[in-house]
């Protein structure tokens, strides 16, 4: 029974993925799968944010930067011509590992670039190092200080990207090759591979959700929630709070970077706006709209809202809409709109929430007994 209950949401998610594709095909709008695929990649960032903000309780306004670090590392390595080092002995030695690939560039010159898999691993490594370096001092900060530190980090990354020729400055990087994952799967924006890529993104999200759900329902997940609730008590229970906060932050940064890598190969490029502060704020707004500490809530809301945004539903007010969502949620429904909505629906259905029945007069008001001495 419980096993079934745990399994059910994943089955529903898979079902929704398939249903989405069939509905779009039936209505002749299969081209919309492109935006849905992009939304699913963005959802990975928000899922990571859900872990670090919703569970571990650490605010990050720098996740756009990690997405960009992943995307840019991958984009640079798969487009930069490494021909100059072609003759080096170690390059030859690496040949069987397919670290580099040779091909022709647009005008027909032979070039040698890193393979997408190499670039992916490099992106993960770079993110691991940067996130650790940022997280180590930043996580000693609390509340809005941490938010400001991560925001500042995001702004720095944005400026570096904009000011560096290697990163294509304001133009970003184009012409990122497709990524042959193996098993006949290719991450690519070609319209012939639209459906395949939709399922690649959907499966990736599903797998990550399974992994994170496992994490949350484990001693590590409880430790993170304990840190969120009461850090001193968590420490007194034997939890290395500093190390756990850092690991959750790094893991969530890695998820953002992974999303950036897939996204970059899918859209064949990346631009500096991905590293912008607006993007980071948007991820926070999306996490908040899904209830912060609810993997399913944030996945659903984030995919939906990003999809609407990418379809141009919010017009030129895009960023304003996400800012507005954030304000509304923080002021009206800090736990996200889904939970109150669920309670409301349950109320309509006539079932009362058990929590209110249990909640009784608690003893907080009991008088302190004055010190006395006997004998």
């Amino acid at each position: 029974m419980t096993r079934f209950r745990h399994f059910l949401p994943f089955a529903l998610f898979a079902l929704a993925l398939v249903a989405g594709q069939f509905i779009l095909r039936a209505t002749g709008k299969e081209y919309c799968l492109t935006q849905l695929t992009m939304s699913l990649y963005y959802a990975i960032v928000v899922i990571g944010l859900c872990l670090v903000m919703g569970y571990a309780g650490q605010v990050s306004l720098g996740h756009g930067a990690f997405f960009a670090i992943g995307g840019y590392t991958s984009a640079v390595l798969t487009t930069y011509d490494f021909s100059r080092i072609k003759a080096a002995a170690w390059v030859g030695a690496l040949k069987p590992a397919h670290v580099f690939v040779t091909k022709d560039d647009l005008p027909g010159h032979p070039i040698m670039t890193a393979s997408p898999w190499t670039a992916f691993l490099a992106a993960m490594l770079v993110t691991l190092v940067i996130a650790s370096l940022i997280g180590y001092p930043a996580l000693r900060l609390k509340g809005h200080y941490l938010a400001m530190a991560t925001l500042g980090f995001g702004l720095i990354v944005n400026k570096i990207v904009l000011g560096t020729a290697l990163f294509g400055a304001a133009d970003g990087i184009n012409g990122v090759p497709e990524w042959r994952l193996g098993f006949g799967l290719t991450v690519s924006g070609r319209s012939a591979l639209r459906v395949e890529n939709y399922y690649i993104a959907g499966t990736l999200v599903l797998v990550l959700l399974v992994l994170l759900r496992n994490l949350i329902h484990s001693r590590v997940g409880r430790a993170l929630q304990a840190i969120h609730d009461r850090e001193t008590a968590a420490g007194a229970m034997g939890i290395n709070t500093a190390a756990y906060k850092l690991r959750a932050f790094v893991l969530s940064a890695l998820l953002a970077a992974m999303a950036g890598v897939f996204f970059t190969h899918y859209t064949a490029g990346i631009g500096p706006s991905e590293a912008g502060a607006f993007k980071s704020v948007r991820y926070v707004a999306l996490a908040a709209s899904g209830g912060m500490a609810s993997l399913w809530g944030v996945t659903g809301m984030s995919t939906l809202l990003n999809y609407l945004s990418l379809r141009g539903m919010f017009g030129s007010y895009d960023n304003a809409v996400f800012g507005g969502i954030l304000i509304l949620i923080v002021s009206l429904a800090p736990e996200g709109p889904l939970k109150p909505m669920g309670l409301w629906i349950r109320k309509l259905g006539g079932t009362r929430s058990t929590a209110s029945q249990i909640k009784r007069e608690n003893g907080d008001t009991v008088e302190r007994v004055p010190p006395m001495i006997s004998g």
Binding site: L212, S218, V220, A233, G235, A236, N362, G363, R368, S374
Partner: protein, 270 residues
């Protein structure tokens, strides 16, 4: 054998010396109480022992191993657990999950193992759950396991916090005012519970204002005043100690032969 040795521990906050050259031992298997008026430095002392605060000077030894300067989680792993003056449960979690957090230092799977549910990890989870349930049962609250911790009454919170502390398998349990805010009946069952905890081999060090409980439970008592130990001994000896009585009742100090010097200091401070 001394389980815990506190030697010349001092801690000041700005100009205020909260704990001043405090030394004492806690013997294995005993219930020891630290008493003293408000502001005597009892909680500061607890926070130093449990690693929440650093001592300016002094040494703390647990099981003949120096634990001075250890972080709270290292202290917990070494075998010292504590409760707080205001029960600090994790309100977002269920009662059972709260106690399961107590098993953290006695379980080992980390991020990767938990994500992938590697062989052995689910089994460990079940063991954590069973051990936590056993502790809840021990304090008599197993029937509340599924409730949200925030929904509990004050007295229940204390008991759950105690179960959580016990779940860490401590050799030494620090209880910071465990009886405050409890009604008479709850206090009685708390007293019985603390005795049972001692009888199962856990040494108890407690700070408490309720003298009935202190005198009833303790094998040994340390009296702090203005951060300084002024008396140490059995409940009977403490009850008849003139310095202690004068501090608690605020009366004039009668001249006694023992510790006259300290008594004089006390009058001067007034």
């Amino acid at each position: 054998m001394a389980l815990l040795e506190v030697k010349d521990v001092r801690r000041s906050f700005g100009g205020l010396v909260a704990v001043n050259q405090v030394s004492f031992n806690v013997t294995s298997g005993q219930i020891k109480a630290v008493i003293g008026p408000n502001g005597a430095g009892k909680t500061t002392l607890f926070n130093i022992i449990s690693g929440l605060l650093k001592a300016d000077t002094g040494r703390i030894t647990f099981k003949e191993r120096a634990i001075t300067g250890f972080k709270p989680y290292q202290i917990a792993r070494a075998g010292i657990s504590r409760t707080f003056q205001n029960p600090s449960l994790f309100f977002q979690m269920s009662v059972l999950e709260n106690v399961m957090v107590g098993r953290h230092s006695r379980s080992r799977w980390e991020f990767a193992g938990c994500c992938l549910r590697v062989p052995g990890q689910p089994k460990e989870e079940r063991a954590i759950r069973a051990a936590a349930l056993a502790q809840l049962d021990y304090v008599g609250l197993a029937q509340l396991a599924g409730l949200q911790a925030g929904a509990l009454s004050f007295g229940q919170r204390r008991m759950v916090e105690l179960a959580r502390a016990l779940a860490t398998d401590p050799e030494l349990l620090l209880l910071d005012e465990p009886a405050s805010g409890l009604n008479t009946r709850e206090k009685e069952s708390l007293g019985a519970l603390i005795r049972r905890i001692r009888d199962r081999g856990v040494t108890v060090l407690l700070v408490e204002h309720d003298m009935t409980i202190v005198m009833d439970l303790s094998d040994d008592i340390l009296v702090l005043h203005d951060g300084t130990p002024i008396a140490e001994g059995s409940p009977a000896a403490i009850q008849n100690d003139q310095k202690v009585i004068s501090i608690y009742l605020g009366g004039e100090i009668q001249e006694t032969s023992s510790g006259g010097e300290l008594s004089t200091k006390w009058t001067q401070n007034q």
